[in-house]
């Protein structure tokens, strides 16, 4: 069963087609590598899967459905609310001074009791005198602006990175993107964010849920750091870690999300042979935890050593796919890497 199925995916930036009609099925609980020369569109493929880029064409289905914000009744409620508030605000902005004069100023005698009922009826009178000009038109214009603005923002953020992340796709980056001013432990805890139930009020007032979740999540984070062998570095700032440790910390942060699919973008880049061996072991044990791994890598030794399947991209197109042995001997792949003889 495939966990991720990409069909006919095209990503275009202006005139440049970075990924062209790529179809790819990632079977569950396997290690799949994407290889190809520089500029082949591998990272663009990753960015499309994680919702950073919107595909120009084609579908990316994760667990059988597209990772997009669903349109639910709460969405329409939210849109209606924004429209309503925007409409009423514009009514208020347009009428604020005369409304204040008729309802408040003219009804209030200094230090006498103020009759709110009189103010309300004065305000109602003010609007009923000329309902179209004073209420309906500004309300409609404001409502329309609010509604369309909110809808546009919602539409444009339907396929956002956090939606893909919450669906269960975690990733690391080609150029390490840790939170440098946070400790290693905090980096991992941030990866756990979507599983936490603490809200602002719990945090601000230190309600019991905060304490419970704080201890529990810290314990789990330490477990994950232990898994990638960074336990001793837990309280160091991420920027002070060595390069290899930073790479592993990024994997730990992604694992903290409890993903079903883990995308690793060149995890072995810049590592020495010993570190690379350790990394391969780590990726194997991640797969053994039941997490599907999709990997971009240039280290052929790593790719051939751990991949169950390999897909080869060149100039944005998929030119080969199969087991390591099949790909290795595929003439098209050899041509893409070494050129035509």
């Amino acid at each position: 069963m495939s966990i991720l199925s990409i069909s006919d995916l095209t990503v275009r930036f202006g005139g440049l087609t970075a990924v062209n009609a790529v179809s790819l099925d990632i079977p569950s609980k396997e290690i799949v590598s994407v290889i190809g020369p520089n500029g082949a569109g591998k990272t663009t493929l990753f960015n499309a899967i994680t919702g950073i880029y919107d595909p120009t064409n084609g579908r990316i289905c994760f667990n059988g459905e597209e990772a997009r914000r669903p349109f639910r009744w709460t969405t329409s409620l939210m849109l209606a609310l924004v429209g309503l508030v925007a409409g009423l605000s514009l009514v208020l902005i347009v009428n604020v001074e005369p409304l204040w004069d008729t309802a408040i100023t003219s009804n209030y005698v200094y230090e006498q009791t103020f009759l709110w009922s009189k103010a309300v009826s004065a305000a109602t009178n003010y609007f009923t005198e000329s309902p179209g000009q004073r209420f309906a038109i500004p309300f409609l214009i404001g409502g329309l602006i609010g509604l369309s603005g909110a809808f546009a923002i919602w539409q444009r953020t339907r396929r956002a990175p956090e939606v893909a992340a919450r669906a269960g796709i975690a990733r690391t980056f080609q150029n390490i993107r840790l939170f440098n001013q946070m400790t290693a432990l905090d980096n991992v805890l941030l990866g756990m964010d979507s599983q936490l139930r603490t809200r602002v009020w719990h945090a601000a007032l230190r309600l019991p849920l905060f304490w419970r979740e704080r201890d529990e999540s810290a314990r789990r984070a330490m477990d994950i750091l232990h898994f990638v062998d960074l336990e001793r570095e837990a309280h160091q700032l991420a920027e002070n870690l060595s390069y290899g440790h930073q790479r592993r910390l990024e994997i730990a942060r992604a694992l903290a999300m409890q993903p079903q699919l883990l995308l690793l973008d060149e995890p072995a880049a810049g590592m020495n042979p010993a570190e690379t061996q350790e990394l391969m072991k780590l990726i194997h044990s991640i797969r053994d935890r039941g997490i599907t791994v999709l990997l971009i890598e240039h280290h052929m030794q790593v790719v051939m050593g751990i991949s169950d399947r390999i897909a080869v991209l060149d100039h944005g197109e998929k030119i080969a796919e199969g087991t390591p042995e099949a790909v290795r001997s595929n003439p098209k792949v050899i041509e893409a890497y070494l050129g035509k003889s």
Binding site: T50, E162, R177, M182, G191, T198, A204, A234, L237
Partner: protein, 351 residues
């Protein structure tokens, strides 16, 4: 729980601050240092509000004075007896905070997708708009004359008076202490972590499942609420809403100086920043000017020789020097970071 040593440190700070008015009574001549500390407390609250936005979340805001103005004017309208509302101090303050929250959301919603310089420009414009609206909405805000007089706050039947500053001092100190506590709690929680991650790398943060729009809106709302609380306290302190010109760009810049000089993203740093910047402004500069005038070293007719006229230049110089030599501020947050989780399994740092 924070380490006992640091708890002790914070409490001793609070105790010292609480004792200042009492110590003054014992000293000869009754120096009123606490009186001068009141505006510092209020500016510290303003700085804390800005710190949520700029320090934690990394959203540069150049219009916090507008939030302060909204707070001051809402408080004035709700309490002043030329309007029918005539609320007491506590209910008016609560409502003001809610108004600030709403205004923060209103500004946050349309600007939520802007980043960096663009957001700074929009907030700058927002500050100017609010000032202009307050100037021109004559019938409600009384234009450039401001709303006054405001009744003094009261607590359980005790009415504050302008002559005795001590009750005010404790009122503002209490507000500041509560806000420091709330801000620290937020910083060391899931919320603060998400804010800081957005400051560090918004894309990575959203790839980890944090919804940046939601968290930024939250920061906007909470920051604006705190700034408007500072405005309400300021209005009650002045006994007037102040005129719209009191909430101009310079106030926003002073708030920014407080956050930057103190140390971005660190609550304790903001307090120190407020003490340094405002202390310099309202204590040192005044004392120096008075001293120079008393000894006839400078004449009051020549504005160029008065140190007070040079203060914005000195702020600018301080900012440049800070950026050059200590960009992380006087009390940066990173030292605190490593200590932030002492309760969890901890091993000594490797050599």
């Amino acid at each position: 729980m924070p380490a006992p040593r640091r708890i002790l440190f914070h409490w001793s700070f609070l105790v010292v601050a609480a004792l200042i008015p009492l110590i003054e009574l014992l000293l000869p001549g009754h120096p009123q240092v606490g009186d001068l500390l009141r505006p510092i407390f209020i500016m510290a609250i303003l700085g804390l509000g800005l710190n949520i936005l700029t320090g934690f979340t990394g959203q540069l805001n150049l219009g916090v004075a507008a939030f302060m103005a909204v707070g001051a004017y809402s408080y004035a309208i709700l309490t002043c007896d030329i309007y029918p509302f005539r609320l007491g101090f506590w209910s008016a303050t609560t409502l003001t905070v809610l108004v600030g929250l709403t205004v923060g959301l209103f500004l946050g919603l349309p600007t939520i997708r802007l980043r960096g310089d663009y957001l700074a420009i929009v907030t700058l414009g927002f500050g100017e708009i609010v000032e202009d609206v307050l100037k021109n909405l004559d019938s409600i805000t009384k234009g450039t004359q401001g709303i006054n007089p405001l009744p003094a706050p009261s607590w359980f039947g005790y009415h504050f008076r302008a002559e005795t500053y001590q009750p005010w001092y404790y009122l503002f100190l209490g507000f500041l202490a509560v806000l420091v506590l709330l801000n620290r709690n937020l910083q060391r929680s899931r919320v603060g972590r998400a804010w800081i991650s957005i400051r560090e790398d918004e894309l990575a943060s959203s790839c980890m499942g944090v919804n940046p729009m939601k968290m930024k809106l939250l920061a906007f709302a909470l920051g604006a609420a705190q700034c408007s609380l500072a405005g309400a306290l300021w209005a009650s302190y002045l006994g007037s809403s102040g005129e719209p010109g009191n909430y101009d760009f310079q106030v926003s810049i002073i708030a920014l100086c407080i956050v930057i000089v103190g140390g971005m993203g660190n609550v304790g740093g903001v307090l120190l920043g407020a003490l340094v910047i405002m202390g310099f402004n309202s204590i040192i500069l005044e004392t120096v000017t008075n001293f120079l005038k008393a000894h006839q070293i400078i004449s009051s007719s020549n504005v160029f020789t008065s140190p007070g006229s040079w203060k914005y230049m000195l702020y600018g110089l301080a900012l440049i020097l800070m950026m050059r030599f200590r960009p992380e501020g006087l009390l940066p947050s990173r030292q605190f970071k490593a200590e932030a989780h002492p309760n969890e399994p901890h091993s000594p740092p490797t050599a």
